[in-house]
């Protein structure tokens, strides 16, 4: 009767005494592996930047070792904080994000060199290099990353701020529309400008709205999942339950109309539909979402000129090679020039693509690193998204599951939209490439996103603290 079961089947209350002594029960933290990967990432950055210098004939860049050590110290700092605050967190997320940021900075530096050389050829004043401002944004991003890890012990706290997060997200999205504050750059009203600094609030809005969706769906998912009306053979939700999805749809259309931004609008609607599906496990939501998306697409194609131009350019970019299709055509030429192994950093012509360091940073990397390097980058993104979903599967509370899944979906959708756009799989939309592209808002927002995923994965992998057994004998036992 009292035979002690073998350790493998112990209920956790029984495992309490053993959890300290028996190393097998304690999940490996793999923090050393994280450090190792971080060092590789840093080394790759050094090698890449030096390679740019050698290949372009610039030699070792100015202030190179200072810049490199700043990057190294930032990464190390993040690592130490992770060791301290979230020791059981996923070991891959931080190195992956760091490597992408470093790769992005290498490419931004490479484009700086190209711009400087062109300025010399044209006898114009040298442009200010972008790589240092990117470095500052990286520092800000890591700082916020650390702040999130320090403040947020438990992601479930965020559930309390469901509606606050929703409100903040909405406000951030609407901010650029305020006259005097918003700024229209390249046709999209996405920026907020004050005091010489421009900021893209939609990047932060995506995190706030993911928190809101997660908190909202945790509460509502039962009614959204269980109550159905049969219609044409498929179980559809009741009309009154359609409210949220319709609101999300109208809202994304609003972004498309008033801010003229295809990418953000797609991102939010896709995020909401995917999270609805994950929360309810009902395929009908996907059917509905795709249907609404199709309606919205046709409508916006017919109603808005800028959407129509994008689609036409997508179908036949070479017909518009001198006008609207110039960018995508140059991007395709870049990929073709890169071929399998790439031209090597510093040896291609990525500067020929307009906005090579923001929207088209992947085209620049694709040219200079080739298909082999490009696939490596896609793999890095894929592993990152997988890690996010892994945390979602492992974490025990439904809010954490939805939040981690939502954040991973944000990343995945954004990467799909931008990679698809750059390679002409889908019409081009202006979304930033997470971690890689030049720009503060995107970098900061994505580092916060990684911090949130780390907190969730820490909670997921952390051994469960044992419950103190209630002292026996005090209660009376009734024999039946």
């Amino acid at each position: 009767m009292r035979a002690a079961p073998t350790s493998g089947r112990l209920p956790h209350t029984g495992a309490r005494a053993m959890s300290q002594t028996e190393t097998g029960r304690r999940p490996a933290t793999r923090r050393n592996r994280e450090l190792f990967l971080l060092i590789i990432a840093w080394g790759l950055g050094v090698l890449g930047t030096l390679q740019v210098g050698w290949a372009t004939g610039e030699g070792t860049p100015q202030r190179f070792w200072i810049t490199a050590s700043v990057v190294g110290v930032l990464a190390l700092l993040a690592h130490i904080i992770v060791r301290w605050r979230v020791p059981f967190a996923d070991p891959l997320l931080l190195p992956l994000a760091t490597l992408l940021t470093i790769l992005g900075m290498t490419m931004i530096y490479r484009l700086d060199v190209a711009a400087a050389q062109r300025a010399i050829r044209n006898n114009s004043p040298p442009p200010t290099p972008d790589v240092y401002s990117q470095l500052i944004w990286f520092a800000v991003g890591v700082t916020l990353f650390i702040v999130v890890l320090l403040i947020l012990r438990d992601h479930r706290v965020l559930q309390r701020y469901t509606y606050t997060a929703g409100l903040i997200g909405l406000a951030l999205l609407l901010l650029p529309l305020i006259p005097g504050l918003g700024a229209t750059i390249n046709g999209a009203t996405l920026w907020v400008r004050f005091g010489g600094l421009s900021f893209q609030p939609a990047e932060l809005a995506k995190i706030a709205l993911t928190i809101f969706f997660a908190g909202y769906l945790v509460v509502k998912r039962d009614s959204l999942a269980l109550v159905r009306v049969r219609f044409l053979g498929i179980g559809l939700p009741r009309p009154r339950d359609l409210g949220p999805i319709v609101v999300a749809w109208v809202f994304s259309l609003g972004i498309l109309i008033f801010q003229r931004d295809l990418g953000t609008s797609l991102l939010f609607f896709g995020l909401f539909v995917a999270m609805l599906y994950i929360a309810t496990q009902r395929r009908s939501w996907i059917v509905l979402g795709v249907g609404l998306f199709a309606v919205g697409s046709v409508f916006s194609y017919l109603a808005f000129n800028h959407v129509r131009v994008r689609v036409q350019v997508w179908i036949d970019p070479f017909a518009f090679a001198d006008t609207g299709g110039y960018q995508i055509v140059q991007s395709l030429y870049g990929f073709a020039n890169g071929g399998m192994l790439g031209t090597g950093l510093g040896r291609g012509y990525p500067q020929l693509v307009p906005f090579a360091n923001t929207d088209f940073v992947l085209a620049a990397l694709g040219e200079e690193l080739g298909l082999v390097g490009f696939i490596a980058i896609i793999m890095i993104y894929a592993i990152m998204v997988q890690r996010g979903f892994r945390a979602a599967v492992a974490v025990r509370d439904p809010f954490g599951q939805l939040l981690a899944a939502g954040l991973s979906i944000t990343l995945a959708l954004q990467i799909f939209v931008i990679v698809g756009g750059v390679t002409r799989l889908i019409p081009l939309t202006g979304l930033t490439t997470p971690f890689l592209s030049y720009g503060g808002s995107s970098l900061i927002a994505n580092w916060i996103l990684v911090a949130l995923l780390l907190v969730i994965s820490h909670r997921a992998r952390q051994p469960i603290p044992a419950v103190e057994p209630i002292p026996e004998g005090a209660t009376q036992v009734v024999q039946r």
């Binding site: 890449g48 290949a55 891959l92 690193l369």
Partner: protein, 172 residues
């Protein structure tokens, strides 16, 4: 820098990039292999999925390695508690030397995600060679057969213990 040197550096960079990816995939593989003994093998979970949108999760360490539908083919030594009905059907919990707790709270030994179950619903603990079940002031009560528990009661072998929509059965 010579052309040869540049080509070598270029290849080294690509190799380094893939080294990183492969090192990451190795970590990933280990992680995928690890939870096999930790996750529940709940045979009835897929069938129940339509009713409960998300099969409730138990704390990791509380998982028995193999859970089967009936107690007869378990190889546990000593008494076990089997879930015979409800969302967790098929789960077998070995009764060791410490108490187990049942409830909706995430730190319970058996986490039941059921609206009729309180956060800390009941506990089962050993006393003088028998197992005692005690209701921890739950809203909907714990029942043995048709009797609602009002005081700590010896859990008879084979008697159905009902908690919410879940029925448990002890076997020695």
């Amino acid at each position: 820098m010579t052309e040869l040197g540049l080509t070598l550096v270029r290849m080294a960079f690509l190799a380094g990039l893939w080294l990183f990816v492969i090192a990451a995939v190795i970590v990933l593989r280990r992680d995928l292999a690890q939870p096999k003994d930790v996750r529940p093998t709940n045979s009835a979970a897929p069938a129940k999925r339509t009713r409960t949108p998300r099969p409730p999760k138990q704390p990791k360490t509380a998982k028995p390695p193999k859970a089967s539908r009936s107690t007869r083919d378990t190889k546990t030594s000593g008494p076990t508690l089997t879930v015979v009905d409800g969302p967790l059907v098929g789960t077998v919990i070995p009764l060791g030397t410490t108490q187990i707790t049942i409830g909706r709270a995430a730190d319970s030994t058996i986490v039941i995600d059921d609206d009729y179950v309180s956060s800390r619903h009941a506990r089962i603990y050993p006393s003088e060679g028998a197992w005692i079940v005690e209701d921890l002031g739950s809203t909907n009560g714990s029942w043995i057969d048709r009797t609602r528990l009002t005081a700590p009661t010896v859990l008879p072998v084979g008697a159905p213990l009902r908690i919410g929509r879940t029925t448990l059965q002890m076997s020695s």
